[in-house]
Subunit: 196 residues, 2 copies
C-alpha cells in the first residue's frame, strides 16, 4: 500500500522548496532571502512557490516544523543507540557540529536572533524547540549523575540551559570565521567541565 514509488527521500516539489529555503534561512536568516531566491535556484516561478506555500509565514512554519521533527528524531535515536549519558552528550554536540560543518547556523538559533520580526506561529515554534532541547538535556544530565559518567554541581535545569546556550553561541561566533576550530574549542571546554 505504498503511496509512491520513492525509496525513502521525498523529492516532491514542496520538499525541494523546503530544502532550499532551509539552507537559506540557516545561512542568511528568514529576512535574508526571498521567494525569488528559492524560485531561481529550483528553476520555477514565484507563483508556483505560492501554490505550495501561500505566504512566506506559512513557509516559515513548515520549515521549523520539519526541522524540529528531524531534530527530535535525532534525539530519540541518540537515546536508543547510546548507553551512557556522557556519550549522549557528546553525540548531542556532534549534531551541532554537523550543522556548522555544513556552513549553517542552527535554524532556531538564527530565528531567535530575528525573533522580534517573526510572525507569531514561528515564535512559538522557536520557543518549543528550545524547551524540548532543555528538557532532553536535563534528562540526560540526571542519567549522567546516576551512571556516574557526568559530574556537575549546579541544578540539572541550569546546566541544561548552559549547555544549550554554549552550543548555540559557539555556532554563532564560529560562523563568521568559517572554521570549526572555535566551535571545537568551546565544546572541548564544555565537556571537560562535565567530566570528573
Amino acid at each position: 500500500m505504498m503511496a509512491r514509488t520513492r525509496t525513502s527521500r521525498d523529492d516532491s516539489t514542496a520538499e525541494r522548496i523546503l530544502d532550499v529555503a532551509e539552507r537559506l534561512v540557516q545561512t542568511r536568516g528568514f529576512n535574508g532571502f526571498s521567494y525569488a531566491d528559492i524560485a531561481a535556484e529550483l528553476g520555477i516561478t514565484t507563483a508556483s512557490l505560492h501554490y505550495h506555500f501561500p505566504a512566506k509565514a506559512a513557509l516559515g512554519r513548515a520549515l521549523i516544523a520539519r526541522y524540529a521533527e528531524r531534530f527530535s528524531g535525532a534525539l530519540h535515536r541518540i537515546d536508543q543507540d547510546l548507553a551512557d549519558a556522557r556519550a549522549k552528550l557528546a553525540a548531542y554536540a556532534d549534531l551541532y557540529a554537523g550543522v556548522l560543518g555544513g556552513k549553517r547556523m542552527c535554524m532556531c538559533g538564527m530565528l531567535a536572533a530575528e525573533y522580534e520580526t517573526l510572525p507569531q506561529p514561528m515564535r512559538s515554534a522557536v520557543i518549543r524547540f528550545f524547551d524540548e532541547n532543555r528538557t532532553w538535556l536535563a534528562h540526560v544530565l540526571s542519567e549522567g549523575l546516576q551512571d556516574k559518567t557526568l559530574t556537575f554541581a549546579s541544578p540539572e535545569e541550569e546546566v541544561a540551559q548552559g549547555i544549550l546556550s554554549t552550543l548555540e553561541g559557539a555556532m554563532l561566533v564560529a560562523g563568521p570565521y568559517g572554521d570549526m576550530a572555535p566551535f571545537k574549542s568551546t565544546v572541548r571546554v564544555l565537556l571537560a567541565n562535565l567530566s570528573s
Copy 2:
C-alpha cells in the same frame, strides 16, 4: 576650547540617528529595519538620513564602530577599576546582562547571525570585535591563574572562546523568553566552573 556647549552626551542628529538605528539592529537585525523606520521615529525624512549616512552600509559601519569603541572603553574601565580577575570576569558578564536587560541582543552577536548578508566592511568589524573580546578574556584568565581567583584546566585561548560563546549564546537563547532567568542560570554555571 570647547567645540560645543554640550555637557557630555552628543545630541547631534547623526548621534540620534545612530541611537535609534543601534536599538533597531540589536532588536530586529540589520535586515530587519529600514531608513523609513528611523526617520519616522525621529520625525525627519529618509532624504535627511541619506545626508548623514549616504548608504545603509555606511550607517552599518558607523554603528559597529561606535559600539566597538564603547565596548572597548568598558573593558579598559574594568581593568582599571577592579583588582582581581574573578571580579573582572563577573563585571564582563554584567556588561552582557545590561544589554539583555535593555531587551537587546549583543550587536555583534546579531550581526554574526546575519554575517552572510553583510557588506564586507561590516564583516571585518564583527570579526575584530570578537577578536578583541577573546584577547581581553585570555588576558584576564592569565591574571586569574596568577592571582589565584580563577581555576581552569584548558588553555586560556580555548576557555576565552568558551566564555565568549557562552555569553553570546545565553543572550541569544534568553531573548525570546523576555526573561533574564535563563541568562543568569548560564552565567552562574559558567562562573562556578571557573572557581575552585
